[in-house]
Every structure is written in structure tokens, then in C-alpha cells.
């Protein structure tokens, strides 16, 4: 169940260089991502990757978004229902000294919007 009072809505700029987006998932919690919107800003076909990374381990691809048409927008789901299940669950670290971060990269510039909630 989505708790609208705990839902966060954040937009990130994605570039061709892989980089952190947003904040680490809180320790002993999980990030429940309920809705994603990806928009190409490069004016060309684009492949955007959402990744997670625990500490300094290798980043893991959570999902890929292929935008074939320039300036194409991908949204899932179109409408966020109250009884929706999360699209992605990113598990936070169990140690305060190791963070679980989200990263993103594209073939070119893109915008990424996530609606999520951090909870146990």
C-alpha cells in the first residue's frame, strides 16, 4: 500500500557519466520505488540505466529504459494507485558505515523522476 504522506517525489539529471542520484537508502530500511518517469533531453535515442551500489562494491543495474525517439518520455505506471505495489525495492545497508546509493547513467542527457518511500 502506498502511504501518500510518506511518498517522496524527486527529479534527477542524468548524463553520460555515471553518477550518484539522491541520497543513500537509510540504514535498516528499504527504498520502495512506486513510479518512474524518464525523459530524453539529448535529442537522440538514449539508453538510461538506474543502478544501485552498496559501499564501494560494483554498481548493479536495477533497470534500463530505452528511449528510441528523441525527447521521448517513459512513464510507469501512468496512474499511481493507492494499492500499488512497488516497481523496485532497493535494500538499504545494515551498517551505518556502509551506504546503499542509487546511480544513473545515459547515452546522453536525460531527466529521471522517482516517486518513492523509505521504510523498514
Amino acid at each position: 500500500m502506498v502511504d501518500k504522506r510518506g511518498l517522496q517525489s524527486k527529479r534527477y539529471e542524468v548524463t553520460a557519466g555515471e553518477a550518484d542520484i539522491g541520497n543513500d537508502v537509510p540504514v535498516n530500511m528499504r527504498r520502495y520505488i512506486y513510479r518512474v518517469k524518464v525523459q530524453d533531453d539529448s535529442g537522440a535515442a538514449n539508453l538510461v540505466e538506474l543502478k544501485s551500489q552498496l559501499g564501494d562494491e560494483d554498481a548493479v543495474v536495477v533497470d534500463q529504459f530505452r528511449l528510441v525517439t528523441p525527447h521521448e518520455t517513459y512513464v510507469d505506471p501512468d496512474e499511481l494507485r493507492e494499492d500499488a505495489l512497488p516497481l523496485y525495492i532497493i535494500e538499504g545497508s545494515t551498517s551505518a558505515t556502509v551506504g546503499m546509493s542509487l546511480r544513473a547513467v545515459g547515452d546522453g542527457d536525460a531527466s529521471l523522476l522517482l516517486e518513492y518511500e523509505d521504510s523498514e
Binding site: M1, V2, D3, R5, N23, D24, V25, P26, D118, S119
Partner: protein
Amino acid sequence: MDVSLLKESHENLFLREGYLLALQFEQGFACFRILGWEPSNVKPYSLGAVDAGKNLAAWNEIADTNNRRYLMPPEEKWIYHAFYGVNKPKARIFFQYPTRQDRWNLVAVQRTITGDVGYVDGEMSPYDGPFALKTQLFTVRELYPAFNCYNPLPDDMDNVMLNFDIMRYSYVIIKNKDLIRDILTLKRPGRLHTVAGIDPGPAGMPDWLSDLVGKELLTYSKTVIEEGG
């Protein structure tokens, strides 16, 4: 993410005319008969923005713009009975009652106000209710709590809000020793409540109330509760 499923609505815990109430203070029990009731509420009460990983800089005594405390009866003839819910779901509300007396400790050292111990959040006591039993408060004139908030998330909370459901009671103080004994030994149905908590002890009774109850009855109530009358 999911709100707690609580078994009973807090509204069932409000008292009605004729109900018997015994409030335990540091000095002993004061026993009351409820004469009348009137509902009220404060919604929303804003604690303001709380930065990611931070708590409020100062304790909040839940007051209006003229510093009149919502949770303290303005006159001695009333008792307030309150419950509250929390928004945001992850906002952790810490509690002092009376002010400067930290409550809800667990281990030998005092709980912090940035930790995982001794708080109520919006999942435990949802903003729209039903409110958790843990949030139950009885207040009398000159006795009121204070609240702080901790944001455990990496995102700022734009506005942490509380929703207070408050019942005001008029009352008469019970001076009949037989009735006091029956209330405290549970022979008569009544509500017994320890004001503020047990660590390090219940709240001290305000002087005006201890004068009304009288030292003899306070001592008697302690004898009854310890020895069963």
C-alpha cells in the same frame, strides 16, 4: 509504508459522566468522579520542517501564538485527556512529561532524541487515527508535556504535524475512603492511570491539587495500593 492496524479506537477510552478516575502522581493517587465532558481538538499542529537526520532545536510545548498551551487546562476545574497522531509516517516524536523529564527510556541510560528507542512515529500512531494507546495523556492545571521530533530519513521533512484529539472533563474530587479503596483495589470499575510514567517516577502533583486532595488521603491511597487496603 503500511500503517499500523490498531485493535481499538482511542475514542472508546474517553470517559463519560459518572466514571471514576484515579490519577497516580508522585505523592499518591487523586480520585475523581467525572461530572461532564466536552470534546475538542488541535489539527493540524505544526512542529515545522525537520531536516534530514536532524531533530528540532527546541522542545515544543504545543502552544498557540500567544504561548497558551493547548494541552494544559486553563483552569483548575478541568482535566484534559488527549491522544495524538503523527504526520509524517517516519517522523519520530519524543516526549517529555513534565517538561525537562524525558520519558520512554528503556535501558539504564537516558534515551537520545536521535535514536531508535523511545518514540512514537506516524506508523505507530497514524495522523488520521486510530491513535496509539502510547500517546494517551492526562493533564491538569500546571502540568503539561513537551515534544521533540527526529527525522531518520535522508530527505528533509517539509512539515511535521500532530493531530490532537482532546477531551475536557469537569470533575469532583472523591474524599470517601471506602470508595477510594474500592477504586484502587479494582472493586469498583474505574480508570487508573499513572501520570507521565514510572521512570524515574510519576509526575509530581501540582500544589493546588495536593492541597485540595489533602495529605491524609494521598498517604491513604499509597497504603491502599501497596497493601490492598
